[in-house]
Structures are given as C-alpha cells and as structure tokens.
Symmetry: C2
Subunit: 361 residues, 2 copies
C-alpha cells in the first residue's frame, strides 16, 4: 500500500482531516527525504477526492529535498517548520489532526498544540508501521547490498582472528572494514564476545585477548543507502571441545528449523516456538534467554517482533532476523543470525555466509 | 546540587509528591546505571523529611545494577518495570506525579497513566538539565580522557592523510583508531570534508580523493566511560593559497577571542557575538551559518546552547564546545573546535591539539 493510501486509511479510522508525520524514518520511507529535520503534513486535496502531502524542511536541505522528495510538495521556510505550517494556513479548517503519539513527546505535542488553538490533536500509534514492514523489491536489494558488505567483513575477520587478538581489536576492524567498504555507518555497536563473555547476549567488546579453544560470538551490521544489515556468526578459535560443538549444532538446528517454516501468516510466537522446541529438547531451554528475532529495514530494529511474547501473524514481505542462541553462564555462548524475507509459502534467506562451525587454527 | 535535592526542588515547584525519571542519560547521571532499561522513582521518605529513590531494571542487569547504582534502592522484578512499581504500591497515596515531558512520548505517558488511575501526571521539562550541565571534577576528567584519545587519533591522521586518500578512508581510520585506543564508541559519525565538501558544515564522507591544495575539515569525537569528546581541526593538504590562509586565520582569531572571554555568567548570545564579530569584521559574516557551540557530557549535545538564538547566562562548570566556522559555498570551509569548562572568571581549555594551520606535504 502506498504512503498516501496508508495515511488515508488512518485518517478514516480516526475520523481526522489531516495527519502530521514527524518520525524521521517514517518520513524517509514515505517521501524519500534522508536529512535530519523535517515534517510531513497530509490533508485532503482541495479539488479532488484524494490526499495531498506537503514536506517542510530547513535551509540546509534546500537542494537535497528537491532532489530526494517524491509524492509531496517541498517547502523550505526561512524559519521554524511548524510555525511555518501554522502561518501558511495549513491548519485552517482542520478539526481533527492525527499525530504519531508513539514518536512525539508530551512537551512537543503541547508546544505544537498551543499554536493550533482550534485543532483537536488525535494521537495514534503505528500509523505507518505495517506498511513500512512490507518491503519492496528495491528495499530488499538495499538490505542485501548492506548484508553483502557485512559478509565481506566476516570473510576478512576469518583471516585475521587468532589467539591473542583482543575483542576490542576485532571490533575496531569490524567498523573500519565496513566503512572502508562503503557502509554509511554501523547499524549498531558490534558485539565480539569470546569465551565466557559470549554468555552475555549483548556483551561489549573488552581488552580481553581471545584464547585458543574459545568460541567467539560476532554480531554486526551496517547501514547502506539507509537500510540495515545484521548478522551473527559464532566461530571457534582452536578446537572448542565436545559440549561447545553440541551447543553449536543445537543452535544451528534450531535456526534452520525456524527458517524452514518461516513464512507470511505464521504467528510470531509459533515461529519462535519452532526454534525454542529444538533447544528445549536438547536440554538447553533455560539458556535461550531472548526472542527469536526482529524486523529490520530503515531501522535495525523494527516491527514485527519474533517472540514468545507476541502472537500476531507475521506480515508478507517483511525482512526479519532469525537468531536463536544458547548462553551458558560463565562458560560460553552461541548465536546464529540470518535475515530472511517472508513470502506467502516460505521465506528467502538474504544471508549467504556459511553456517558450519568454522574452527580458526 | 545533588540528584535528590534537584528533584526535590522540582517536586516543590510543581507541588508534586513523587517523580518518575525515565530518560536514560539522566538516570545514568543521577544514580550511575549504564544499562539500556530502567526507571528511577523518587518520593518522600516514609520516616523522614528527605526523599528516597528506587531504581527498577530487568533481569539482564541484576549484577550490573547492584554494582553501579548509588543513591537508590535497586529492584529487579521478573516482569515489566512500570507494572512492578504499580503492583508494589509505589503510587499508593501519590496525588501528583512529576514526569519528564520532554523525554516521554504521548503514547508512553498514556500507557503509564492508564495504570495509575488516581494519580495526576504532571509533565515538566528540563528537570535535571541544569544540574547535569554542572560537571564535577571527575566528570571533567572523563571528558578529558575521551578527548585525549581523539587527540591521539588526530596525531595519527596527520601521519596518514595525503593527496589521493579518500574522505571515506580517513573516516574509517578515525573509527578504527578511536576504538582500538579504548573508546567505547564514536560520539557521532565523523566528518571528513575536503575542498568544496568542506563548505557543508555536516558533510558526510564520500569516496572523493583529497587533492593537493585542499583544506580538510575533520570533526570527530568518542565516548569513554560514558563521556563524550568532540574536536574539529582543519588541515591543508599541500599549500592552500592566500584566501584559504586568510579564512583560517580569521576563524582561529574568532575562536580564540571567544575562548578569551568565555566564563560562567556571560550570556549565550553575547559569547556567540564575540566570535561572530571577528568573522563579520573580516567580511565573512554571511558564511558563519551556525551557532558557536553546545554543552557536552553524557550526551555529545547537551544544554546549554551557545548561539545568537538564546540569551540565558551560561552556567558555571559546564563543558561546552567553541566552534566557529566559515563556509564558502562550492569552494572550501574552515572550522576549529575546542572543549572548554566555564569557571567564574575564565574557562579551562580541555583541548590541547595545535591550532596553527598544519600543511601536510
């Protein structure tokens, strides 16, 4: 569904005359603007049954907005954006205005509402969330391109990790190699967690040298053309031993079982359960301490969640991560994460890095 | 002023019984917690005239919260944080609850308020802002330590920048060198803007090779122990020519003039004007297109702003940047930025990197 028809459906649902979209990732998705300041105002078109969109930004983005913005008329006032909309009469005749209650602070709403005395401000959540989740073919190519950089970096790391290298040195290489290969930025601070540090799902890299026989959890991703990649691989530096191999095989089986059944329409908790059952049957059920995955796109974490906490059906064409893990406190951890796109009867895996246990000698 | 007495003053001002602090940088400042999920609840102590603080976080942070948190009782419920506060009776008898209206979304406030039927939610802005701005000696040492890494990276760059190197390669080195030297992360995406790109104050690094005779604006910083560094230097790669030298000298004079008079009590716009006057007198007044600087600490951009837009007196013991610039469209730009700490009669400069025009041959 297009941006305008999605907003139109929300206007109808809330019996509103106009909508103010202020959350920047949503603005980017809706009209293409990539800068850091802007407001998107949607109202019924003056002379037709349809809707019209107006985008307002500041003077830093005069040229950029003209180049980037589609589906909206661009305005670049010489002063603040919201007062411009007021002064130019955009709120005249508006009785009920929809705004993004999940992205606007109470103070911001009060400031804005104070300038539009006759307008009733109607807060709505997730106005564009479901539409944003459904990725176009081009968006999927953007995610794939970002993911390709991450996989190149993974190949590089396999040549450079060895006993004695610190987690921090590996993390520094991860950022350097991503940016030098063309990434706009990292999509989150990379996780490099060796040995017992691997048992912390969100460990920060330390100055701890990686020792022979340890597993190393590497979770990393970047933004390219605005879209995120995200991948976790767990590698062994030297022979990790029998239980580590068993845990690795369990996580891999769980991850592949979930990918096998992942598709549009399956409920979030049911998909989570497919992976969780494998881990529970292997006796590690207490050690998979997070949900199965998350949507990603212009944000590295988006709706939908893949989790035992939520039971909605997963949407078609969403890009989501599948990332089960087992974390044995003070011993080691294993996580394996791919990005898949949900289709009607199956999913497409965007991640091509190998999933066998790689032992770096 | 301590955290509790600051909140106490706000409670008194708003005639409130308790306060909910939810903005993570403020929570970190108030009680030391560095994790990503928590709520800090302050109420009158049961048996004394004073206040008591309760900190709630989730099971991922059981050990960390016990180690880090001071001045608050730590609670780690097995379920969601806010419902725990409700269930444990923290809102019983509370008539007016202060919350951070500038950091809580309308949807979040509505969700919370829906669980506390008898409580009136009173939104206040900048509850801790002024207290956070006044840095202790230890906080200043943290900023200085982060800044030291940034200056080491600058020295490294001077050895590695040469004609033909791309902006992107320099940016990749900036992140690698910071993290490898111990930084937790970068405090913002580094700016490396050569030649005409330097005329864009917030240019993103491109694949453009740096040419001989060009100025290069380098703006970078990191977080260490939670505190930010931030420094801009402009260097020449080969002889830049007479006008570039003149512009550089003008920006340097403007920056040094502002530092000369920077102190607690001077108004923000008056300090901005000291630098702006130098640039205007040199004939470049139209090309200094942003404010003079900003506070920094646990966030890289904090209150106070240093700008012609605001006229409040600057607070004692704040760490602020002083960063005038001149940007000649499609030609080149120059910016020089230091961090200073405002004292009663002068300021202390935390930045020690040289400010003469460095020409890399």
């Amino acid at each position: 569904m297009s941006f305008l028809s999605t907003v139109g459906a929300s206007l109808k649902e809330h019996d509103a005359d106009a909508a103010l979209i202020s959350f920047l990732p949503d603005i980017r998705w809706a009209c293409g603007f990539t800068g850091s300041n802007g407001l998107l105002f949607v109202r019924r078109a003056a002379e037709a049954a349809g809707l019209e969109a107006h985008f307002v930004t500041d003077g830093r983005y005069t040229v950029q907005a003209q180049e980037e913005v589609t589906e909206a008329t661009v305005h670049v006032p010489g002063y603040q954006l919201f007062p411009y909309l007021v002064k130019e009469g955009f709120f005249d005749g508006i009785e009920r205005l929809l705004f993004q209650a999940d992205h606007v602070s109470v103070a911001q709403r009060d400031t804005w509402a104070g300038q539009t005395a006759d307008v009733r401000w109607i807060g709505a959540q997730e106005i564009l969330t479901r539409a944003v989740a459904q990725k176009t073919a081009q968006e999927i190519e953007h995610i794939r391109a970002a993911q390709l950089i991450t996989e190149e970096v993974f190949s590089f790391l396999l040549q450079h990790i060895q006993p004695g290298v610190t987690e921090r040195e590996v993390a520094a290489q991860i950022v350097y190699q991503h940016i030098n290969r063309g990434a706009d930025k990292l999509s989150f601070d990379p996780i490099v967690a060796a040995g017992p540090r691997g048992a912390l799902p969100h460990a920060r890299p330390t100055d701890r040298p990686i020792a022979s026989g340890e597993l190393v959890v590497i979770d990393m991703g970047c933004f390219l053309n605005g879209y995120a990649s995200d991948m976790t691989r767990t590698v062994a530096v030297g022979e990790p031993g029998k239980e580590a191999r068993n845990v690795y095989a369990t996580v891999r089986r769980a991850q592949e079982a979930a990918i096998e059944v992942a598709r549009a329409g399956i409920s979030s908790d049911a998909l989570d359960a497919v992976a969780r059952d494998v881990i529970e049957e292997a006796g590690y059920g207490d050690f998979f301490s997070h949900g199965l995955g998350h949507g990603l796109g212009l944000q590295v974490h988006e709706w939908p969640r893949l989790s035992y906490h939520v039971s909605y059906p997963l949407p078609a064409d969403a890009a989501v991560t599948i990332e089960p893990g087992i974390y044995l406190p003070e011993r080691f951890g294993v996580r394996i994460e791919d990005i898949v796109v949900l289709r009607d009867s199956s999913c497409v895996n965007l991640t091509t890095a190998p999933k066998n246990l790689i032992v770096i000698d």
